[in-house]
Amino acid sequence: MERIFWVECRQCHGKFYCDYTLRNAGLQLICPFCKDKFLPDEAASLDERWR
């Protein structure tokens, strides 16, 4: 199982998750609910807990 992180969209506040390789890749994520594009650090919130 590969690591994932949860993202809260900065625009619509919908929540989705991504493969952790996108966390620091410098690529914009795409919100599946409103199609806003933003970097992970621009998200309304991130949940990166992992064990």
Binding site: M1, F16, Y17, C18, D19, L22, I30, P32, F33, K35
Partner: protein
């Protein structure tokens, strides 16, 4: 008449609405109308093939293409598609599948003018994926997704490889994203990437269900999948030259809709989430880009779709694997009675195996072998031969009554698993057979002689 989706739907139509339900009320597939209907039916344990005859395309306009889905939603229907008795839909179906995948029927090439799939040709400049009524399946899905099979051709050996992959609509007419997991597709793609060349790919959006069942055969590298599919179709697959590459890339002449295109070397697109076979969403990630070079289709083309994470998606996993797994384990151990990949394990990451147990320890040997039969397995449960592996209640009864957790469950750590689950990269084997090295209670049974003597019909039941 060659087999195609239309000929199979005609067969189903004669069997009534529980096999083929035609929906005339307009639906908007990109707005979850199709999957909401499928989910309602699934909750009622009803699995008809659905033909939505009035659909909307991604521009919000009435589409010329109906949508067909749930074709594979019962094992009996899959048996029927392969020309087998629908009542023999358990181990017999899986073994028949394993027999078919060892056969080949050479394909034939016909002129493009005679190919239904080339009746309408939309070239690169006019091609627009949004003319299709592509289904958006689940709430968190990134976009509408095409869920059927794709074709690639090995650039060195010239064989064709078919598998199921997802194609994500990317809000542009001729650009999509592909999520390729198949080892053979990835191996072919790597060859093109190493040469810096675009990799041709053709998406097959509808054909006879035997075509797609055959595309899932566990063929060795180098096998021409068209010829294997011919064995499942029980007739040669008719091929024709593609619009983009002509005779250098042959496509199925009796397909409904074909999307031709290339994976440009090194180009990626953000794809996912998508509601996957495991009933979890695949996380968003970077996947292959896909540039459309042509769309061709029949005059009366139907767009076929898979209701992922539900019965038809699961049976497309279990039926192709159970028979070959049975044969492989039987060759090694000689005591195998049945193999089943249950829907509770998405027909991918769990296997139930029943054995004739003659001594302690054999169940774990079988379980260890079974783990090697698919890189997707997380769990293997082995039961005695009197347990029907197709009846999950019986299997779980065996687990709850026969299994000593301190001795009969083993966890293999640091084993790669592809699917997200709390097990992480661990694999679990469970010996749920009755112990032979200690006294143990007996399973209840009405005497077999009484069962034979008493017939329900004699009692008006």
């Amino acid at each position: 008449m060659p087999k195609d989706l239309h000929t199979f739907l005609d067969e189903l139509r004669l069997l009534g609405p529980e096999e083929l339900a035609r929906v005339d009320k307009p639906v908007r597939p990109a707005h979850f109308d199709v999957t909401a209907i499928l989910e309602h039916l699934a909750r009622e344990k009803r699995y008809p093939t659905l033909l939505f005859r009035s659909t909307e395309d991604l521009h919000g306009r009435p589409s010329r293409f109906p949508v067909a889905t749930n074709l594979f939603a019962t094992r009996a229907r899959c048996a029927r598609a392969l020309g087998l008795p629908p009542e023999r839909d358990k181990m017999e179906l899986s073994l028949a599948y394993a027999g078919l995948e060892r056969q080949q029927v050479p394909s034939v090439v016909i002129p493009a003018d005679d190919a239904p799939a080339r009746q309408v040709v939309i070239g690169q400049d006019e091609a627009d994926l949004a003319i299709l009524p592509i289904v958006r399946h689940f709430e968190m899905d990134l976009a509408p997704v095409l869920t059927m099979a794709t074709i690639m051709k090995d650039p060195d050996e010239g064989f064709y490889d078919l598998t199921f992959i997802k194609t994500f609509y990317k809000d542009r007419p001729r650009r999509a994203g592909l999520t390729i997991h198949s080892p053979h597709h990835l191996r072919i793609l790597k060859k093109y990437e190493e040469r810096g060349q675009p990799a041709p790919v053709v998406n097959v959006l509808g054909h006879h269900p035997a075509f797609f069942l055959g595309s899932l055969a566990l063929s060795p590298w180098g096998t021409n999948d068209y010829d294997v599919i011919g064995a499942f179709m029980r007739e040669p697959v008719r091929l024709t030259g593609s619009e983009t590459w002509g005779p250098d890339f042959l496509v199925p002449a009796d397909a409904e809709i074909l999307i031709e295109g290339v994976i440009p070397p090194g180009e990626k697109e953000i794809c996912d989430p998508f509601g996957e076979v495991t009933r979890h969403y695949q996380p968003q990630g970077l996947k292959q880009a896909f540039d459309v070079t042509a769309i061709t289709h029949r005059n009366d083309a139907i767009l076929q779709d898979i209701f992922s994470g539900h019965e038809e998606h699961w049976f497309l996993g279990s039926i192709p694997k159970e028979g070959s797994m049975f044969n492989s384990l039987q060759r090694q151990h000689g005591c195998i009675k049945a193999v089943h990949l249950p829907n509770s394990g998405a027909a991918r990451f769990t296997a139930y195996v029943s054995i004739h147990k003659e001594r302690e320890g054999i169940a774990k040997r079988v379980a260890t072998s079974a783990l090697l039969e698919s890189w997707q397995f997380n769990w293997v449960v082995v039961v005695d031969e009197d347990i029907d592996v197709f009846d999950e209640q019986e299997v779980l009864w065996a687990v709850y009554t026969n299994t000593d957790p301190s001795r009969d469950v083993d966890v293999l750590k640091n084993q790669y698993n592809i699917f997200h689950s709390a097990a992480g990269h661990q694999k679990i084997i469970v010996d749920a057979t009755r112990p032979l090295d200690t006294v143990f209670p007996e399973k209840i049974a009405v005497p077999a002689s009484a069962m034979e003597r008493i017939k329900l019909s004699d009692f008006g039941l």
